[in-house]
Structures are given as C-alpha cells and as structure tokens.
Symmetry: C2
Subunit: 215 residues, 2 copies
DNA sequence: GTCTATATAGGGATAGAC
DNA sequence: GTCTATCCCTATATAGAC
C-alpha cells in the first residue's frame, strides 16, 4: 500500500528515549500525535488484528511504513515492546472506567453503569479492543515477563466480580451476559453492523444491557 | 510461510488418500479413541489454547507425549494438518446444528433454537470452541490455503444471518447479543463459573437467551 | 533516523536408521 | 512408530556506516 506520508516528520531528537538502548532515559513522556513512534503503533495495530501478533513480522510493519526492519529498533527495543505500547494505550483508556470501581459490593446497577462506560470506550477505541481480543495468548506471555506494573486489568477485575460469591449465580450470569452482548455485537459480528452509526448501535446496546440486567 | 520447495503433500503417516506409501489405515475411518493420532490432538488442543497455535512448537507437543518432534510427522504431514484435524473435530460437531438451518427466513424463534443447540455443543465441547476462539488468525490463514471444502462454517453462517437486511436492526442486535451472552459466560469469564454444573449453567443461559430475544 | 550487513536462534520439515 | 541428524528458512535483534 501507499505509505502515509504525513508531511511532518517529527522534530529531531529522540525525546523520551528511543527504546532500551544502552543507557537511555525512560520514555514516560506524552506521545506526540504524528510521530514515527505513534505511526508504528498504528500500523502494528492493524497488522496484529489482521494476522495476529505472531503472524506479523517486523519486516511487514516496516515495509508498510516505508523503511526497513532495522529502523524500528531505533524506536522500540523489541517486538514485545511494540505490543506493550499498544497495551498501554488501552490501559490509559481503561483507567477512567476503572475509577468507578470501588472496592465495595457490586450491584446490578453499578455493573450496568460500568458496562455502559466500557461500551463507550469500545465504540471509541474499537480496534484497540479488537487487537486485545485476538492476541490474548501473546499478551499473557508478555504479562508473565513483566510481572511488575499493577495488573489491574479490566478483564481481570471483571472476572473477579463475576466470581464474587456474595452475588447470586443468577445475577452473575446476567452480568457476564450483558457484557457478552456488547462484545458480540462489536467484535464478533464481522461487518454485520458496519453500516450502523455508532450512536444508534450504542443506544440499542445500552437498552439490551439494561434488559438483560433487569429483574 | 512454509517452504516453497519440494512436494507439498508429504505422504507421511497413516492417512489414506493418494500417495500414501505405507499400508496404513485410511483417514476417513472412525478415529480410534486412544490412538496416538488422537492423543496428539488432545495435547495440541490444550497447548493451542494455552499458548496459541503460533506460540506452540512441535517440539513442545512431542515432549508432552514422550517422543520427539520428528515422530509427529508420521501421523500428520504438517503442523497445519494438526490444526486442521482439530478444526474438523469441531466441524463434525457443528454439522448437526447446521442441519436445522434452512435457507428460508430467520425468525427470532428459529434463532433461539439455533443458539440453544450451539449452547449444548459448547457445553459438551468447551475446549474445542475455546481453541477456535483463541486462534482465529491461524484458522483464517488455514482457510485461505484450502479453499476447497465447503466453508459453511458456523461462524460464517451466523454472521450472514446477522447481516440479513430482511431483519430489523433491533432484532439483529438481539440475535448477536443472545449469542454473546452464551459466549461470554462460557469462554470469557475465566473460572468464575467453574464450580457450577453444566446443567444449571445451561438452564440459566437458556433463560437469558430467551429473555434477550423476547419482544 | 534510517540504512546495509550480519549474528544467532528456533522453527518446520525431511532422510534414513532402527 | 519412533529416533537421530540435518537442512533450510525466517525471524528477532545487533553493529556500525551514512
């Protein structure tokens, strides 16, 4: 395909630090929108969805960007690093949603509002969620290595709540089902709902979620 | 990609068919339960779920079985062949369910009975479905190569119906959601419902599905 | 920041002995 | 049916030039 020549190749200097070279500073800086670093992620995101993480080679990513494999290593220390960066994108998105998660008991009402929040995020960041869904094995492998960083994954928290013995089995099935409703429409239906506006789809799904959780 | 040289259909192993050089049992026979061929699939199934198809090496499979990588090639011509054999297991299971799929119009009632059928199959063949869910990229790649064999996949048929313009958007969302309910409880909830009997889970899910599709 | 060239590892697959 | 040994290829990753 044609390369996305965005005209503005970023300002000089690897601010924040190009992946783990010998002794580079950490890269916790805010990501600049059109930077090469970000463009790499955009391309990788598409390929990881289409061919899977393992099925995608660095050469493919580089070629789509118009340069060679080796150049990627200036921006990311490893292939895993690219996956991790994409994971962090989702992590940032999900942080807001997790804030409303108190440590207290979960009611069907709080669950509904949680699912509503996540639904909004999924509609806005569809590809990011899709990539995660289709590369769970690779992501788990990644997590095993970096067992630092608080693993308050959305997925993990969800599963915890679904296993909460304080909630009746009936309700837990409904909770899981309501999430599955959203998930299947957005990520498993192929292009069956492609022509539908996100707004309309969102409304229909919110209503569905509500009905599933209704007593 | 696999190598381009040499013959593609390596005549290895006890599969019948053209070119099988040894006098071995044909492949279209009923699979013998405890046979090495079946044990290979059992081990591969677990590993493909845990580490993904690409993340699993033939060496790993062989080691779990107590012999070496090369021995696998007596039973299967390639790694893809193993995946395909697992896919066929599911194909066989799904055939019954697809029988009730007429070419006529789909009502919510027929959809419900279809989901009920699939639910039963999923409860009985949980790992097989889970493997498919977690290796969609690899399976799609496989399908591209073998563009023979009628691909009336369950997934494909489902998506077709969900895109049917003769059905209202509202109903199609409900249809997808009902499937997602089943899916999420069985495959996305981790071990949250591990302690629950399949019967009880089945009943709760059938009721949920019914409620989602109810007018 | 990107290139060429290269090191290195691991995987799938084959040949032929037993 | 399984083994050892080997081939070939592709992939990640590194070194150093420009």
């Amino acid at each position: 395909m044609t390369r996305a020549t965005a005209a503005k190749d970023g300002p000089a200097g690897p601010r924040g630090g190009p992946g783990g070279r010998k002794a580079e500073p950490a890269q916790d800086q805010p990501p600049e929108a059109g930077s090469t670093r970000e463009r790499i992620l955009d391309v990788a995101l598409d390929l990881f969805i289409e061919k899977g993480f393992d099925g995608t080679s660095l050469r493919e990513i580089a070629e789509k960007l118009g340069f060679t494999k080796a150049a990627l290593y200036y921006h990311y220390a490893s292939k895993d690093d690219i996956l991790m960066a994409l994971h962090m994108r989702l992590h940032d998105v999900g942080r807001d949603g997790l804030k409303q998660l108190t440590d207290g008991p979960v009611s069907l009402a709080t669950w509904e509002s949680l699912v509503d929040t996540v639904l909004g995020q999924m509609l806005a960041q569809r590809k990011l969620y899709l990539m995660h869904e289709r590369n769970q094995a690779a992501l788990e492998k990644l997590h095993r290595k970096d067992h630092d960083a608080e693993h308050e994954d959305l997925q993990q928290r969800f599963r915890q709540m679904l296993a909460d013995p304080a909630i009746s089995l009936h309700d837990r099935v409904r909770m899981a089902s309501s999430f599955g409703a959203v998930f299947s429409v957005l990520f498993m239906a192929g292009d069956a709902f492609e022509g539908t506006s996100t707004q309309e789809l969102g409304e229909l799904l919110r209503q569905t979620v509500h009905d599933i959780l209704a007593p």
